[in-house]
């Protein structure tokens, strides 16, 4: 029997798992996808917001601020790249300056530090590529950029090292509560019995909630499309550039990523299909069009990919977090849209507090709070690289040319706890395939390494789980076994 079953291995579920792994408790995470971070958490703006935006008094405001403050220690402990690059919320209309002042006041009320309005030469010298229309900006120095995959994966790995179990390809199909008050969670063909359930199911959190509660909630997926630019223009702006929200909407942001690309987006469209992360011609055109409101036109030829992500919109104006009234010890962590990534560490901490209070769990001495990430060969000095190759020659073999990712890093990504099993899993952990050739050169090699390390037949290795196989079959209709048998003969 489990003390806690967490549904969903996105950033919220992973944060909760990590915080719960501090406790002497039996915890597991059920994830419908083949890996951690495959839903809402994988495709977003990758911003740790300062916290000036949420309405004062909301959970969003409180958890955003707390989460932001927790980031430095979290990233240090878990070896996650994070940079406080600061944000500028730009105003392009002198008559709208009142709204910028309001945002400043709201931020101060929320407790955001260091906010100030900048204009003129000071603003231009901070950010020379702002559009000529920009008249002033609210500067938020505590805003930061992070890699959402690495953040989620790092928290999940650390949780796993501290005893939390993860089950993938485990979609929750039913939850019942027995007479003793224990929950029976059915996922796939297995049943997990637990004292408490924490619902971090992202866009599916309503379905999971509605399995146990008569007080129904609805999560609507809101899709945002993005364009990612080549590292060649990675220093086009150094701060995250937001547009002052107007009656026409929130506008699109332009930001460097923590890995040195430039990102523009998102659009905002409600859709009905909770798996539909396709991009649209109109959406991509909108991103390209609207980014020019705040910055000088970025060269369109430097786009290396476009993608879309879904935000879990709860419709209440706030996160839906807490124990469900008619389902004791069932906790929602739902409606986690922006600033969800920023808030996740604080949401995780809340989860641990619930567990301590209501389940009577306490801390364990064996908790290991640090985790070492995969060595990032690309970011190393000559001497560091030299030493690494000497320690393991696989680090001397570059697999992804664009991002300078070595075979050693890919093998590490596969072998470590909750290791990668798919091309995207390797990509999210190592950046192999994330560069300008978009995996053209490295995918056959990565396929070979996954096959070698896991023994999975080639025709069963996927891009991202499910039916997303890379190759259909061997030529002449052979299976991997037959093809290899022939090779040996």
């Amino acid at each position: 029997m489990y003390d806690v079953v967490i549904v969903g291995a996105g950033v919220t579920g992973a944060a909760a798992a990590r915080e719960l792994s501090r406790l002497d408790a039996k915890v597991c995470v059920l994830e419908r996808g083949e890996d951690v971070c495959v839903g809402t958490s994988k495709a977003n703006s990758a911003i740790i917001h300062a916290g000036y935006d949420p309405k004062p008094g909301t959970l969003m405001a409180k958890l955003n601020l707390e989460g932001n403050e927790m980031m430095d220690e979290l990233c240090k402990d878990l070896d996650i790249p994070f940079k406080r690059n600061g944000a500028l919320i730009v105003c392009t209309d002198e008559s709208k300056m009142g709204a910028l002042d309001d945002l400043l006041k709201r931020g101060e009320e929320n407790g955001v530090k260091g906010l100030k309005i900048v204009r003129g030469q000071e603003l231009r010298s901070m950010e020379p590529n702002l559009s000529d229309d920009v008249v002033a900006a609210l500067y938020a120095p505590t805003s930061g950029i992070i890699c959402p995959f690495e953040m989620t994966i790092a928290m999940a790995e650390n949780a796993a090292e501290n005893g939390v179990e993860f089950f993938f390809n485990s979609k929750v199909i039913d939850i019942t509560r027995d007479l003793e008050g224990l929950y029976h969670v059915k996922a796939g063909d297995k049943e997990y019995v637990t004292r408490a359930v924490m619902n971090a199911a992202g866009v599916y959190a309503d379905e999971v909630h509605n399995m146990v509660s008569a007080d129904k909630i609805e999560i609507r997926p809101r899709r945002g499309e993005y364009c990612l630019y080549d590292k060649e223009v990675g220093s086009y702006v150094s701060h995250t550039i937001f547009q002052l929200p107007t009656e026409k909407g929130k506008g699109v942001l332009v930001t460097p990523t923590v890995h040195g690309n430039m990102l523009a987006g998102p659009t905002s469209d409600f859709i009905t299909d909770k798996d539909d992360t396709s991009t649209t011609a109109d959406g991509l055109a909108e991103v390209l069009d609207k980014q020019c409101i705040s910055v000088k036109p970025l060269p369109g030829r430097k786009i290396i990919t476009s993608f879309s992500g879904l935000r879990a919109h709860g419709g209440t104006g706030d996160f839906i977090i807490g124990e469900v009234k008619d389902a004791p010890l069932f906790y929602d962590m739902a409606g986690i849209e922006s600033p969800g990534l920023s808030s996740s560490p604080a949401i995780g901490r809340m989860a641990a507090e619930w567990a301590k209070k209501t389940l009577g769990l306490s801390g364990k001495e064996t908790f290991k709070k640090t985790r070492k990430g995969i060595p990032h060969f690309a970011d190393m000095s000559f001497a560091e690289r030299s030493d690494l190759i000497k320690s393991n020659p696989l680090y001397g073999q570059i697999v992804c040319r664009c991002e300078t990712v070595t075979e050693g890093e890919i093998v590490d990504a596969i072998r470590r706890p909750l290791g990668a099993r798919s091309l995207d899993g390797v990509k999210r952990r190592t950046r192999a395939g994330m560069g300008r050739c978009q995996a053209g050169f490295c995918s056959p090699k990565v396929l070979e390494i996954i096959h070698r390390e896991t023994g999975l037949p080639y025709d069963r290795i996927t891009k991202c789980g499910g039916k997303s196989t890379i190759v259909l079959e061997h030529t002449k209709g052979q299976t991997t076994e037959e093809a290899e048998g022939e090779g040996k003969a």
Partner: protein
């Protein structure tokens, strides 16, 4: 630090031909650094025939063609490092590279030849809307999967782009039992060679849809279909012309991009049209002693021209390395410094001064070469008429299809070449030959212009 007279980055067709000719031109130590586990570059996966008609007068397969140059360069005494990735080239030609055996190491090169080849334009760069399932590959990745790894990426295929690799793969996939529904080309003309359209599409009844593009990809996990539409003169989809194909594989053959990351980092000047280095008639880039050839310089259609061009680059690089060894460059540097009134014993020469010294050895007279009126670029961009070879081939591409137009060359405002051409198309590289006799006869001319003139 290790040293070499000529270091060649890339062991594909360009690097191999450059290595052989650098050795033949007298360079003692020629080192080819190749990141793959075998030599030959992209030729190793091009198992179809048609290579080498110009060079050998016979039709070889890619691996056979590569093999001839592997033998030639090996016999000439070039050395090779496989599985080795070059990470950096400094302005003074120190090459930093790595592999699992030697770790990280540096080589000081007398001359460097950039021969890194090119890569394919990926789906992301095309910004095709739709889902992002598996089953979408560049044509070259599919070629590798099938020809090298022995694996089929799909059975029902649509190919976007009519570049040569796409055309070749239409035939290849058909021969492997797949059904190729169509090759879809955005432009009103194919960007591939005429012979490939005949031999790879027409012979297999595969339709080529010109002025069409893929407007949507479908399927959440694996590709399930694509929607294709006709495009207007503005290259935007025309509503009402949509065609849907059920397919599990979309191949992209939408252009090749020279891989100049190393060149850019080294500070080599890049031509924005070719995305390759700007070179003179010796294939020397803007950095003295750094040469460039093959598809990293500009994307070719035929490997024969790559080999020919690379052969010259190899020879000139060897001569440069020799001039440095002999102290001729140092002497020229002294002269440049003296002309500027500086003491030769003082600080090291600046990059400009090194360049000026390099140019001094090339003779005083340079003419600029440029394309105009339909000619998108030229290689080379400068010709040093005092030291040039007897003949220099200027290669270029045109921006659209011309039928019955004239190819002309002007020296300043004087027309020195004029020839009627049956057809000139963007898919086929064009060339014009200039002789030393002709150019030396007009030393006052500063600029050569290659242009297309219609009647």
């Amino acid at each position: 630090m290790k040293t070499a007279d000529v270091v060649i980055i890339g062991g594909g067709p360009a690097g191999l031909a450059a290595a052989a000719s650098a050795k033949e031109a007298g360079a003692e130590h020629v080192l080819v650094i190749e990141r793959n586990n075998e030599l030959g570059g992209i030729l190793t996966q091009c198992i179809h025939n048609g290579f080498g008609l110009h060079t050998f007068g016979e039709e070889l397969t890619g691996p056979e063609y590569a093999d001839r140059f592997i033998k030639k360069s090996t016999e000439a005494g070039a050395e090779f490092l496989l599985n080795t990735m070059v990470l950096d080239i400094s302005g003074d030609r120190i090459v930093t590279a790595m592999n699992g055996t030697d770790g990280l190491f540096q080589v000081k090169a007398g001359a460097v030849i950039l021969a890194m080849g090119c890569r394919e334009r990926p789906r992301g760069a095309l910004n095709i809307p739709g889902s992002r399932p598996s089953g979408i590959y560049t044509a070259g990745t599919a070629q590798r999967l099938i020809n090298i790894e022995g694996m089929m990426p799909g059975k029902e295929v649509v190919i976007l782009g009519s570049g040569d690799i796409g055309l070749i793969m239409a035939r290849r996939m058909t021969l492997e039992g797949a059904h190729v529904n169509a090759v879809v080309e955005l432009m009103p003309y194919s960007t591939g060679l005429r012979r490939n359209i005949v031999q790879c599409l027409d012979d297999f009844n595969i339709p080529l849809l010109l002025s069409h593009t893929v407007i949507r990809t479908e399927g959440k996990e694996h590709l399930q279909g694509v929607t294709v539409a006709e495009v207007g003169p503005d290259r935007k989809p025309v509503p009402g012309t949509e065609i849907h194909y059920d397919c599990d594989c979309l191949l992209l053959s939408c252009g090749l991009i020279p891989e100049n990351e190393l060149s850019r980092n080294a500070g080599v000047k890049i031509n924005p049209i070719t995305n390759g280095p700007v070179v003179d008639d010796t294939f020397e880039t803007s950095i003295p002693g750094v040469f460039s050839c093959g598809n990293v310089l500009h994307v070719h259609d035929l490997v024969d021209f790559v080999s020919e061009e690379a052969g010259k680059a190899g020879r000139f690089a060897a001569l440069y390395a020799q001039a440095e060894k002999d102290g001729k460059l140092a002497a020229a540097e002294k002269e440049v410094l003296a002309e500027e009134g500086k003491s030769a014993d003082g600080a090291a020469a600046s990059a400009e001064e090194v360049r000026a010294a390099d140019r001094k050895l090339r003779g005083s007279h340079a003419v600029q070469v440029a394309g105009e009126g339909g000619v998108r670029y030229t290689v080379p961009s400068d010709i040093y008429t005092d030291t040039m070879d007897g003949k220099v081939t200027v290669r270029f591409r045109v921006g659209k299809v011309y039928k019955g137009a004239y190819l002309s060359v002007y020296a300043d405002d004087q027309r020195i070449f004029h020839q009627k051409k049956k057809i000139l198309t963007p898919g086929e590289m064009c060339q014009v030959m200039l002789t030393k006799d002709k150019l030396s006869a007009m030393p006052e001319r500063k600029r050569l212009t290659v242009k297309i003139e219609e009647e």
